[in-house]
């Protein structure tokens, strides 16, 4: 492809990726680029196409259409030497459960043809920073969810890839280990590695340098998370009161209400800016307490997905058809 791979150059490029599994369209023209030393988040609900995109970028499958490039190389072409540049951690458990932590590390190091001395050095460092050194003889299947993910990460990092693809690395991981994982990723990114993380958790978007919102196999929005949320024009309300009445009222309001989600004993209501005043009045009129909240990434996502679905005639009344909506 010939792009310059340098400090800030593009090292990963997905261009118009399309793929279908039978009648299910997993990817519908997904395009994005990741620069060297960038932490990029692919954010989307389950089934949005994140895993398919990452598997294509890892060279495990070929896209129906479009191109994927890692440092200008086709990831599906094993002979191009692309695999040495690439680290991939699948969402599913993918290590040998009956082998110990140390044996798993050694096996993957051998597949990457690392010599003994290099392996010893790197595994020692990785075991130290993942705090797995104490468990080196423990079978992988006996590790907790968080430790397992850290081992998988270590296995994907042994050969010092330039690009690291992580498919929902924090799925099934406790909050403390989740923080640990993010800390590790920041460390590698600081050393110049490019990392692509897929996640369905909107709160994790804010941890990335840049995010792409994936919905039905397409990119809805892309940019730095704080900028995206800052540019959100909708209004977020917290409505507290007699729940059934409030919900009934919101059903009746129709257009303008983008998403409704439970929030403790109240409801979190995302409303289009132009309808905000009216909705607020109606809610107050019905005896509900209303308070404006600071929008977050989730609101942005729900609003944008809702718009798209409304335009495509999928959801009703312009509202999103997403898991968080009641």
């Amino acid at each position: 492809m010939g792009e310059v791979v340098g400090e800030r150059g593009v090292v990963l490029r997905a261009e118009g990726l399309e793929h279908s599994f039978g009648v299910i369209r997993a990817l519908d023209g997904l395009s994005f680029e990741v620069a060297g030393g960038e932490l990029y988040g692919l954010i989307g609900a389950d089934g949005a196409g994140k895993t398919t995109a990452l598997r294509i970028l890892a060279g495990l499958m070929k896209p129906g259409r479009g191109t994927a490039r890692i440092a200008g190389k086709d990831p599906a072409d094993a002979r191009s030497g692309v695999r040495e540049l690439l680290g991939y951690m699948p969402q599913r458990y993918s290590l040998y459960g009956d082998l110990s932590v140390g044996e798993n590390l050694r096996f993957f190091a051998e597949l990457f043809c690392l010599d003994r001395r290099v392996f010893a050095e790197r595994s020692e460092r990785l075991l130290a920073i993942t705090r797995l050194a104490r468990f080196v003889d423990r079978p992988a299947e006996k590790l907790s969810g968080g430790m397992y993910k850290k081992l998988a990460l270590a296995c994907a990092l042994l050969h010092r890839p330039e690009v690291l693809l992580l498919d929902e690395p924090t799925n099934g991981v406790d909050p403390v280990s989740r923080l640990d994982l993010w800390e590790l990723l920041y460390g590698f990114v600081a050393e110049g590695m490019s990392v692509v993380v897929s996640t369905p958790y909107m709160d994790e978007a804010e941890r990335c340098h840049r995010v792409g919102l994936v919905h039905h196999g397409k990119l809805l929005l892309e940019g730095a998370p704080e900028r995206l949320v800052g540019g959100f024009s909708g209004v977020v309300l917290r409505a507290t009161g007699e729940m059934e009445r409030v919900e009934g009222l919101l059903e009746g309001v129709g257009a303008g209400v983008i998403a409704v989600a439970p929030l403790g004993g109240s409801l979190r209501v995302v409303v289009a800016a132009e309808a905000a005043g009216g909705v607020e009045r109606e809610l107050r009129g019905a005896g509900a307490e209303v308070e404006r909240l600071r929008p977050n990434f989730e609101d942005l996502f729900l609003a944008r997905a809702g718009e798209v679905e409304g335009a495509e005639g999928r959801g009703g009344g312009g509202r999103s058809d997403l898991p968080l909506r009641r």
Binding site: L60, A76, L111, C113, C155
Partner: protein, 379 residues
Amino acid sequence: MTPAFRAVVRKEIRQITRDRRMIPMLVVAPVIQLVVFGYAVNFEVNRVETVVCDGDRTAQSRAIVRSLEADGTFHDIGPARDCGRIENEVVDGRAQAALLVPRGLARDLAAERPAEVQVLVDGSNPTIGRFAALAASGAVDLQGMRVLRERVARQRGLQGAEVALPALQPEPRLFYNPQMKSPLFMVPGVAAMLLLVVTTIATAMGLARERELGTLEQVMVTPVRPGELILGKVTPFVAVGLLDVLATLTVGSWVFDVPIRGSLWLLALGTVLYVFSTVGLGLFISTVSRTQQQAFMGGFLAMMPAILLSGVMTPVENMPSWLQPIAWINPVKYYVEVLRGILLKAADIRDLWRPLGALFVFGVLILTLAVARFRKRLA
């Protein structure tokens, strides 16, 4: 021998030895099965439980009964309960055969009238039925000859003397297995069967397991090539298979006196070619199954016809002509030919080039097909 190949072999050996059930299953079970099969699969019929109804009760009728029981095929379990309904003894399963000597037999013979002895045999098991019927007619023929000789002697006035009759006698000589011992025939067949089971199932399940558990996904993003992965995974099982053949032949010659008359090198060559085929078959099965369970069922479905249509138990030539082509593409058939040839007949490469060539061709074809399918499934 690339480093990645060595890594896969080492990992596989580690996993096999770590699983406590694997070694007994792969090595000990086949040997035990060989011993059990060797004793159990026996085509000799030598104890047909028989009830007797001697309605004549003369010296001659007793002589006929004795001569029928003399060669050991018929085992007298006592007199019939009701001679009028002697067939009931066979029908209700008390006996496998019933012998009925009618009243007046001695008188008929003395009067030179035709006389009959009835033998009822349970034919639900054709092997027993055939052996019993053969034994009965043999014994009755013998008794008939004696009667004939006595009659000729009487006519010539040579009471008590031996009379030679101008009868045509067959003089059979059996090569390779003169005592017709079933184990000599069966042990090579069982060895071929066990090798098929161990290598095919282990290969099919090994790869299906990696796919099912997701480990294949992690391995395939490394620079390892599909060929290295497959070879690395099957090599330990090929070694186990060769060990099994060695063990079964040792036990076969020790317990069942199975000879090893031909070249061990030729045997090793044939075995390696055969294992290529069985491993290829296992690999192919793994490419059409998504889970270990499917792989196991697939292996089982492929192995049943492979064993039944191989000549291990019954000759391929006896099968209906439309079924025989299946045996021609069956590696088990060729390996059994090679094994029996080398062990029993001291056959050399000139005698065995056909089955060896067939194994080679089959092995190359199935392995190529399987590796191509494996690559395609990865892509």
